[in-house]
Assembly symmetry: C2
């Protein structure tokens, strides 16, 4: 399962808005197309968004001069960054690409647009490769927290579909555990409004032969209360230096209940997910179209004119976070002190 | 909005499985039909189930002798009680009807089947009337806990559709507050799998002109975290003498988060909801068809063969319950001591 494929002059994405019912590939040839695919959630998940945005930046390298190409990249960064405001990987990736381009041009490392484009392509491939290696390391650190027989509660899809690599962040430990012959199972809440759990996590884990149970979002409390869950592992879209974890809406409730029931709660994310500058008050929680709640796969499920509040991320305060598992190791509280030891930028 | 209508020789129910998309009435002429309507959730909500079951018992009074009629009622009680195992009002109502019938026959208060049936009809009407009066009182007690400007989070539908009277239990305080000109709004989580929130609560409150916001079940944590909610009010399907509250799946998570955020959590239920005999270990949590999670209004939303755990109630321990609002007053902790003062049976 490899949902992102770079073709040299275009980006192929497995359309996640149609999974698991249809396997449709979309081909994108410019940053506007990539931005639109991110906005429409045809590609989703913080790392996959970062990788796609990197390739979107490659596609923006055009013009008859290096200055024109850099201008085109600056415009592309604005177009791409605006697609999803909460995911920090997006602007992290576009900044990385643009900064490298600026430096290369300034220092005369590239002589023409062709060379700049080659450099950008190499860098985007590097973003992908670093992501995959980071996931392997996160998976191994996470594996230390699992015992054979454990059932793990997750949220949304922080798997190989979300990261573009086929491995994933929060699902990586369970995939490695399964590969090593451990008896591991996963409880996947459906994750309204977009049903990443029932559509993607369940699909991805079943493809890998991992025992998976689908539950409604309303049932996350009961499964923890009944002792059916030994560990909670989720991804993250943004983590602050004090340990506030932004992730898919519904994560916060899992963290609070896990805390109350004495179940460990881990966020798994590459260090690129850390936002060391912002404070909680600075971070905007993305709200999406009310029709995502009023309709489901085109079918009305509520009165058409009802008022809707549709935030798609929430924030989990550090109090409820047992540890943050990164490619550089596991960060434990106090986060204000320990994040900086692991995340150097 | 009056979803239950007794016609003398049949029971008319507004089919809640089709609301708000279709307003279909079903006409039932025997206890098997009533049991099936309860099982298929064409009528749902603990008090409405109790009222419907009472009329189901009236419909069972048949035979050429009083003994035959009593036998028929005994069989009807078994058929009706099996329809939904968690709702205690169901067996409470059928026992009330059968006990009265047994006593009336034993003591010679009724001379023939016709008189027995008249007595049963009167008693079922009485069940309805007592429910309505109880809701008015609960609404007034609940009103004491509301201030103008408050937003109340609920769960499922504990409104007039759930009780059959048009008023409701958990929604009664907000309806009275609105009628008195107070500025009150309600946040309704959609309540998967059956969407009682998006389909019924939102419909019912909008019909009454009360400001209502629909949210996903995943968003209940964030709205409390952000200070958007001043009070949580939910119904109950069964309450134990030590204060354990059984209610629609998802209630527990609201209670835990409210507790953690310092928001009061109230369960509103008539004293008929109390089960003074059972302990937590005795109560079976109803699990329903996995296809309720795999499909939504007939549309597939998950891989067809995925394993599903679909409990439809959960239990909230007394630790998280601020108070239980009944028609006889508000019960505060310690429940083990205070429930008995209010609930005499």
């Amino acid at each position: 399962l490899k949902p992102i494929e770079w073709r040299g002059d275009s980006l192929l994405l497995l359309d996640q808005s149609q999974l698991p019912f249809q396997k449709t590939w979309i081909e994108l040839r410019d940053p506007e197309g990539v931005s639109s695919a991110i906005r429409n959630m045809q590609v989703r998940g913080a790392p996959a968004i970062g990788i796609s945005a990197s390739y979107g930046m490659v596609l923006s390298v055009n013009g008859s001069s290096l200055n024109e190409a850099l201008d085109s990249m600056k415009r592309a960064k604005i177009v791409l960054d605006s697609a999803r405001p909460t995911a920090v990987n997006l602007s992290w990736a576009t900044s990385r690409m643009l900064n490298l381009a600026n430096n290369a041009v300034e220092q005369g490392d590239v002589k023409n647009v062709k060379e700049l484009r080659d450099l950008m392509e190499e860098e985007a491939n590097q973003v992908f490769q670093e992501e995959y290696e980071a996931e392997l390391k996160m998976g191994l650190y996470g594996l230390e927290k699992l015992n054979s027989g454990d059932a793990v509660l997750t949220q949304c899809n922080a798997g190989g579909l979300a990261t573009g690599t086929g491995l994933g962040t929060a699902l990586a430990p369970m995939k490695l555990a399964h590969a090593l012959g451990m008896d591991i199972s996963v409880f996947a809440p459906e994750t309204r409004p977009w049903l990443q759990g029932s559509r993607l996590t369940v699909y991805e884990l079943m493809e890998d032969g991992i025992k998976t149970t689908l539950i409604t979002d309303t049932a996350v409390g009961l499964v923890m209360y009944k002792g059916m869950i030994q560990s909670v592992m989720v991804g993250a879209d943004r983590i602050l230096r004090d340990g506030h974890v932004y992730n898919k809406i519904g994560t916060f409730k899992e963290a609070v209940i896990a805390h109350e029931m004495g179940i460990p709660f881990y966020a798994l994310a590459p260090t690129s997910t850390f936002d060391l500058k912002s404070e909680e008050k600075d971070v905007k929680i993305e709200e999406r179209d009310p029709n995502e709640v009023r309709f489901l796969r085109g079918v009305p499920i509520a009165p058409a004119e009802v008022q809707v509040y549709n935030p798609v991320f929430d924030v989990t305060p550090p109090k409820y976070v047992t540890g943050i598992i990164t490619e550089n190791g596991i960060i434990y509280p106090p986060f204000e002190k320990n994040v900086r030891k692991i995340v150097q930028r």
